[in-house]
């Protein structure tokens, strides 16, 4: 579903490499944690998948598209097949839960009657069917993130990307959120989640791709977060601010 072939990225000519020679493949229906400290290249990897930026070197393929040769006109087609969730939810403050989720379908030109039954279905998937008329500020952080997940899923994408989705949430809520992602994964959606939450990674026991300084240092099925002693040390060191997805 997603394949990186010897991908390197740098943001400025002559600058430091954000990713170096990354080769990794994520199959259809897989659930992958991308872990590593801030600035290790997790977000950069996700940005490449939705062609928020191109690879400097190497080839990225997503759902049958070769992103290296994709014309700008085709980029929206790619993005319709990939849902994205962020740490900061990014909901529209003036719209209700229902409207936030429906917005995606409206933008894509879905027919009204279709929106009327697809949105409640999707809200049910994340357990928010009773809060459709609430505004985002009336919801808890966990509930807001569920709205964001519903919004990412309402268009039934093949891939769901989650960039630190539990970064603003307490451990209990975090587990609920990843539980939802896990459920979504079981219906056949490929899920890639970037995180540095050791507790979550250790609880869910999925494939773990570990990055350090833009290089994959570990790729392990049913992995834990930190079998490398150095990693713990690294994560406590002051790091330059990571480049977040805009």
């Amino acid at each position: 579903m997603i394949a990186f072939e010897e991908v390197s990225v740098r943001y400025a000519k002559g600058g430091a490499w954000a990713l170096r020679d990354v080769t990794v493949e994520v199959g259809r229906g897989e659930f992958v944690f991308v872990v590593g400290p801030s600035g290790s290249g997790k977000s950069t990897m996700l940005r490449l998948v939705i062609l928020e930026r191109p690879a400097t070197v190497g080839r990225v393929r997503v759902a049958g598209h070769d992103l290296t040769r994709m014309s700008p006109r085709r980029v929206p087609v790619l993005r319709r097949q990939v849902g994205t969730v962020f740490q900061d939810f990014r909901l529209l403050a003036g719209k209700t839960v229902h409207q936030n989720v429906a917005y995606v379908l409206q933008v894509l030109g879905t027919k009204r009657h279709e929106i009327r039954h697809t949105v409640p279905e999707t809200l049910e998937l994340v357990g928010l069917q009773d809060k459709a008329k609430r505004l985002p500020h009336e919801l808890s952080g966990g509930e807001q993130q569920r709205v964001a997940i519903a919004r990412a899923m309402v268009n039934k994408p093949k891939v769901l990307l989650a960039d630190e989705p539990t970064g603003n949430l307490d451990p209990q809520t975090s587990r609920e959120i990843v539980g939802i992602l896990d459920r979504i994964n079981r219906t056949g959606t490929t899920v890639v989640m970037a995180t540095h939450d050791t507790y979550i990674v250790d609880t869910f026991r999925k494939r773990v791709v570990q990055l350090r300084d833009g290089v994959i240092v570990r790729d392990q099925a049913d992995g834990e977060y930190a079998p490398l002693d150095l990693e713990v040390l690294n994560s406590r060191m002051p790091e330059p601010e990571g480049v977040a997805l805009r």
Binding site: I50, P72, R73, V75, P76, V77, L78, R79, R80, Q81, G83, T84, R90, L92, Y103, V104, Q106, V107, L108, G109, R112, R151, N155, R246
Partner: protein, 307 residues
């Protein structure tokens, strides 16, 4: 994207940015008003030209008692015989002369008094000083030289004047007005362009979350840009409509009303632009407004709204 959703987005945008919207409307109005004024001044020149050129073209002034300094008038005022000579010469120039008429001293003095009724000059100029003249309409106005040569220096003829030279001065003035208006319009159009792109930049900023989500879920560039373009087109078209209204008011109350009354009964300069001329340039102004909106917002969106 369905039209209803697009309109909803547009209404949202207008609500959020009312003051900028109003300023775009007003700046567009002023720039198109100047552009329209320039075009109308140009039309005034054309209208008046046709009107004047159809009338008097060459005036053959006869000698008066005061014009002894001109050699042809050394004998004093033109005699009836000299006058008849000129008349028969004019008849002889038949293919060149379309028409002519004689303006007697009384008629000329009356017209002079009327023209300068507000001036002290009337008291100081005796009736004898106002020359009689033949007003000649040419078959081809370009052939002025031939006619002038035929009468220049003839006995009893003080001077031959190409009237177009006089009205051309008026037209030159109107042309300056027209060019100045269009130049001002140009400056104002630059203002509009800058203001529109600033507005789009601000709107894009206030709507960055929406556009961010649109991009993320795979909305086409068209979908993302359409609300901005539609808003801008609405603003400039409103500005154009107001400009057309102002031009119409200026022409119907200012030109047709006030100026016509002022000039009525005078030299006959009654061929003025009217409301019909405003309607004639209206489609041009509207098209200009739409083009301004589309081109400017396209440029601004390329710069400020990433897809």
């Amino acid at each position: 994207m369905r039209p209803a959703f697009l309109l909803g987005e547009v209404a949202n945008g207008l609500r959020r940015n009312t003051s900028m919207f109003v300023s775009v409307v007003l700046v567009t109005m002023v720039s198109l008003f100047f552009l329209g004024s320039g075009l109308l001044a140009q039309q005034q020149v054309d209208t008046a030209k046709g009107y004047w050129y159809d009338k008097v073209q060459v005036s053959v002034y006869l000698c008066t008692a005061d014009s002894a300094d001109v050699s042809a008038c050394a004998a004093g005022a033109a005699t009836a015989q000299q006058r008849d000579q000129v008349r028969s010469d004019l008849d002889g120039l038949d293919p060149l002369v379309e028409n002519y008429w004689f303006e007697s001293n009384e008629e000329a003095y009356e017209r002079f008094q009327d023209q300068f009724r507000n001036s002290a000059v009337v008291e100081n100029i005796p009736q004898e000083s106002i020359p009689e003249s033949f007003r000649v309409q040419l078959a081809d106005p370009q052939k002025y030289e031939v006619v002038a040569a035929a009468f220049d220096g003839a006995p009893g003829v003080e001077s031959v004047e190409d009237q177009r030279e006089l009205v051309d001065k008026l037209f030159a003035f109107l042309n300056v007005v027209s060019v100045a208006s269009v130049a001002l319009a140009g400056a104002m159009v630059i203002c509009s362009v800058v203001l529109i792109s600033t507005t789009i930049r601000l709107t894009a900023w206030s709507r960055r979350r929406e556009t961010g989500i649109m991009r993320l879920v795979g909305a086409s560039a068209f979908t993302i840009h359409a609300p901005f373009v539609v808003e801008t087109v609405i603003a400039t078209m409103l500005g154009a409509a107001l400009a057309i209204g102002l031009l119409w008011a200026m022409v119907s109350y200012g030109v047709s009303g006030f100026l016509t009354e002022l000039l009525a009964g005078e030299s006959g300069l009654v061929a003025l632009v009217g409301a019909a001329d405003v309607w004639l340039i209206s489609p041009l102004l509207l098209a200009g407004a739409v083009a301004l909106a589309v081109v400017t917002s396209w440029l601004a969106l390329r710069r400020y709204v990433q897809v």
